[in-house]
């Protein structure tokens, strides 16, 4: 693997950029692995990376039905923040933020992590109370999050319309300065490259059709489009398709899969300095380094695997954006797309062991798991390697749906992303 550096840039420039090596090989499956990870999104690839790097487990395959990073990892609006309400969530997402901090150096790959701040707008008394509660809970958990007046919010984000006659008046905002965005593809590519360099096989265009179990109930491997592949342990990290994959192992999941959409505008000069989220009107916006406005929409009301999503949601989102930022009302949108997100009843992830020995699951990240990528990957690798959860993911069990110990971020804020 080429180490990327100023020197490697100069060397390759002098040889006409013709000698760059592929960043990872496209592997064919071996007969058996110590660990198979189903799903080559950021979470699955990252877990393979940490298995190899931190636990010395390198006989690992990451298998994807499509191309790596082509699921929600490559479709999301890349908002990264950790200002969740509950202690369990704050701990897990802040664990992820700590890893984001050094990720580009760690992977020798620029993931373009930009801590430009995430501003969450309050439009009414309910928002104010709920966000201030978040600010205080976050402070107690050592998570940065501050309350701004409407004027301070405007100063932080000049395109904001804070006039009191606005359709959705801005009465204040919560700001997490440490939050921001990252380049989604680079996260998948960086982990893939780092994992492959340590011996992990990345197998693309190979749907896993079933998880196989032995007479004692333990997993024995997976059935795929390229035949049976043996494995001592299998970790499912298949986002929207988790129910489908887990069902083949006889595990029924508390999940529903919904289309979630996003859209981007034509590229324009830098105008938007941060990320702004408005939960009440359900719109999220930031500007990519290419110059496009990146706008997040909502989930359709019905479950679906169509990876498309309905137009009414896009109309609603764009209308909301134009109300809050009238300056954008003549922008042209370039394209929209959808991803299938796996939603749990309490809107918190499930990351841990399953009733099946040797089978692990990482899912339920729903509309907001990109930000968790390094944390989920790191704790999933830990859980698989030690057959025991890391303290940060220990509360995020599958059992909580029978014990009742929910981590009810849904009731806390009903916030997406």
């Amino acid at each position: 693997m080429t180490h990327f550096s100023a020197l490697s840039l100069i060397k390759n420039a002098l040889s006409g950029q013709k000698n760059w090596e592929p960043q990872w090989p496209d592997s064919e499956p071996k007969a058996e692995y110590d660990v198979i990870i189903v799903g080559a999104g950021g979470h699955g690839l990252g877990a393979a990376y940490y298995l190899a790097k931190e636990h010395g487990i390198t006989n690992v395959a990451v298998i994807d039905k499509g191309w790596l990073g082509g699921g929600n990892t490559g479709r999301n609006t890349t908002i990264i923040r950790s200002n969740y309400l509950y202690d369990e969530s704050a701990k897990l997402y802040d664990h992820a933020l700590d890893l984001w901090d050094g990720l580009s150096q760690e992977l020798n790959y620029n993931v373009m992590y930009s801590q430009r701040g995430v501003l969450m707008l309050a439009h009414n008394v309910h928002d104010v109370q709920s966000f201030q509660r978040h600010v205080h809970a976050n402070r107690l958990n050592g998570v940065d999050n501050v309350w701004l007046s409407a004027e301070e919010a405007k100063e932080f984000c000049p395109p904001l319309d804070i006039s009191p006659t606005a359709r959705y008046p801005v009465v204040g905002a919560a700001l997490q300065r440490r939050a921001g965005t990252a380049r989604h593809d680079a996260v998948a590519w960086g982990y893939a490259r780092g994992a492959a360099a340590r011996g992990v096989d990345i197998i693309q265009n190979c749907p896993v059709t079933a998880i196989r179990r032995g007479p004692d109930g333990r997993v024995t491997g997976v059935e795929t489009a390229k035949g049976f592949i043996g494995a001592k342990k299998v970790a499912v990290s298949a986002a929207g398709h988790t129910s489908v994959v887990m069902d083949t192992a006889g595990v029924r999941m508390p999940l529903e899969s919904y289309p979630l959409q996003a859209l981007v505008s034509e590229p324009i000069k830098p105008i938007f300095p941060c990320v702004v989220m408005s939960n009440s009107v359900h719109a999220y916006i930031s500007q990519s380094d290419k110059g496009e406005l990146v706008i997040g929409s909502g989930t359709d009301q019905y479950t679906s695997y169509s990876q498309r999503g309905g137009l009414p949601l896009i109309e609603h989102t764009v209308a909301a954006i134009c109300e809050i930022f009238p300056i954008f009302n003549r922008m042209r949108m370039l394209r929209k797309w959808g991803g299938i997100v796996d939603v749990t009843p309490d809107r918190s992830a499930i990351l841990g062991k399953t009733p099946v020995p040797g089978l692990y699951v990482n899912c339920g990240w729903g509309t907001g798991g990109f930000k968790a990528t390094p944390g989920a990957a790191h704790t999933l690798a830990w859980t698989v390697a030690k057959d025991d959860p890391h303290p940060a993911n220990a509360p995020f069990t599958l059992e909580r749906f029978s014990t009742g110990r929910l981590i009810d971020e849904a009731a806390a804020a009903a916030v997406a992303h």
Binding site: H241, S243, R252, P254, L255, Y302, S306, F401
Partner: protein
């Protein structure tokens, strides 16, 4: 946008008139106090989340206001049938035969 047939109004109308109400044919336990935690979990939280024909409930919210059932393919989003809540659960093989 989906076009949905309300079996009560007997009209096919835009999705915006309707609200989705989750998976259908999930019966509340008849004797709640005798039910185990696992059975409660199954009733409250476990869903088939099937990729393919899905039995589900809809409500004609901005119309007659009534709940009804439907079978919709979650890959194509195409409805195979909508039917009244007290109609029996239609058999999938027959629906698939008919939709060919």
């Amino acid at each position: 946008m989906l076009l949905i047939h309300c079996p009560y109004c007997n009209q096919t109308l835009p999705e915006l008139e309707f609200t989705y109400a989750g998976e259908a044919h999930i019966a509340r336990p008849a004797d709640p106090s005798s039910v185990s935690d696992e059975e409660w979990r199954d009733f409250l939280f476990i869903r088939t989340n099937v990729k393919g024909p899905h039995y589900e409930r809809w409500r004609h919210f901005h119309g007659c206001g009534r709940y009804f059932n439907a079978v919709r393919d979650t890959v194509s989003d195409r409805f195979l049938i909508t039917y009244k809540t007290d109609d029996p659960r239609p058999e999938l093989s027959k629906l698939l035969e008919k939709s060919k």
